[in-house]
């Protein structure tokens, strides 16, 4: 059958050509409008230049998405980076605040205690405490 393939394919293609010729008027009109819209975009040199410039900046993307979309895609990228950086900075600030808060609480507890602060450093006082607790 392989030797007959081209002939058979040609006959199929002939049928397909007839089918394409008999596209409904409404569809043909919409195709014409679509073509005109595409060509109008091409005929606008400023827009074409912008889209080409945008595609050049975007690198070798697989899909042709349009110039405007490249801009917004880039905008979203930078917005995402900004949010991540802001979140990291905020987390660092929160950690520093927590450390300061813990130190403040420790300092306040020591300062508000009835014992003078030197007592915590006095080895004799600690020995007296230990002896007193042993006697009890």
């Amino acid at each position: 059958m392989s030797t007959e393939d081209p002939d058979f394919a040609k006959k199929i293609v002939t049928c397909l050509d007839r089918g394409a010729e008999s596209v409904k008027a409404g569809a043909a009109y919409r195709l014409q409008l679509a073509r005109q819209a595409a060509l109008a975009r091409l005929a606008d040199p400023q827009r074409t230049a912008e889209s080409q410039l945008a595609s050049a900046h975007a690198g070798t993307g697989s899909g042709a998405m349009g110039g405007g979309r490249s801009f917004w895609a880039s905008g979203r990228l930078w917005l995402g980076i900004a949010i991540i950086v802001a979140a990291g900075f905020g987390f660092q600030q929160w950690q520093a605040y927590q450390q300061l808060h813990d130190l403040e609480e420790t300092d306040a507890a020591i300062l508000s205690s009835d014992l003078p602060i030197d007592a915590y450093l006095d080895r004799g006082f600690q020995n007296w405490l230990k002896r007193a607790s042993d006697e009890d």
Binding site: M1, S2, D5, F8, A9, K10, K11, I12, V13, C15, L16, R18, G19, A20, E21, S22, V23, K24, A25, A27, A28, R30, L31, Q32, A34, R35, A37, A38, L39, R41, L42, A43, P45, T48, A49, E50, S51, Q52, L53, S55, A56, S62, G63, A64, M65, G66, G67
Partner: protein, 199 residues
């Protein structure tokens, strides 16, 4: 700097692009119809492909336009199916959360049927009508082929791309193109034989 595609003699002129699109638009529409089986969606696919061609690839030589356009068209069809899959997933999830009793009330099976390409030929003579019937059967058989086989067949034989160009447009090897084409021809022959159609 962006090149001015209209002043470079090697690049396609506006007239060449216009003529190319005018020549290919109906075949592109039919190709999209075979794949998506919905006239509105097929028209959207062709329009997207045309816009992408003119926006991104107009700065190419005229000789490269057919292969580029076919690649864009196939990618746009694939994008259509991807979007539809996502949309169907969400629709299924949301509808399952909604009222189950009313789920099938808005469903009209007639809306899922492909539009007949011969719906405006009722006034044609009998011989033409028979020809249209054959065309319709061939198109139906083609639309039932596996997507890759249909792509390969249409690009290779209808768009008359060579094997290398077809492989580039489909993103596969030349051997795969030959295999897909051979299988498509055999499958079409079998389907038409089953319908009693001889070309």
């Amino acid at each position: 700097m962006a090149r001015d595609a209209r002043t470079d003699p090697q690049l396609a002129t506006l007239q060449e692009i216009s003529a190319f699109l005018a020549e290919v638009e109906r075949r592109a529409f039919k190709q999209a119809m075979f794949a998506v089986r919905d006239e509105d969606s097929a028209l959207d696919v062709v329009q997207d492909a045309m816009l992408k061609l003119t926006e991104k690839y107009s700065g190419k030589p005229a000789a490269e336009l057919p292969m580029l356009f076919q690649r864009i068209l196939q990618n746009t069809i694939h994008d259509h199916f991807r979007r539809r899959k996502v949309r169907l997933t969400w629709t299924t999830v949301l509808s399952s959360l909604g009222k189950g009793d009313e789920k099938d009330e808005d469903f009209d099976p007639l809306e899922t049927l492909p539009a007949k390409s011969d719906s405006n030929v009722a006034a044609d003579p009998a011989a033409q009508f028979e020809q249209v019937q054959i065309v319709s059967i061939v198109e139906e058989a083609l639309s039932r082929l596996p997507a890759r086989q249909r792509e390969a067949f249409l690009l290779r034989y209808w768009e008359e791309l060579d094997v290398a160009e077809t492989a580039a447009a489909m993103g596969c090897s030349e051997g795969s193109v030959k295999t897909h084409c051979s299988r498509a021809v055999h499958a079409l022959a079998a389907m038409l034989k089953a319908k009693g159609v001889s070309l």
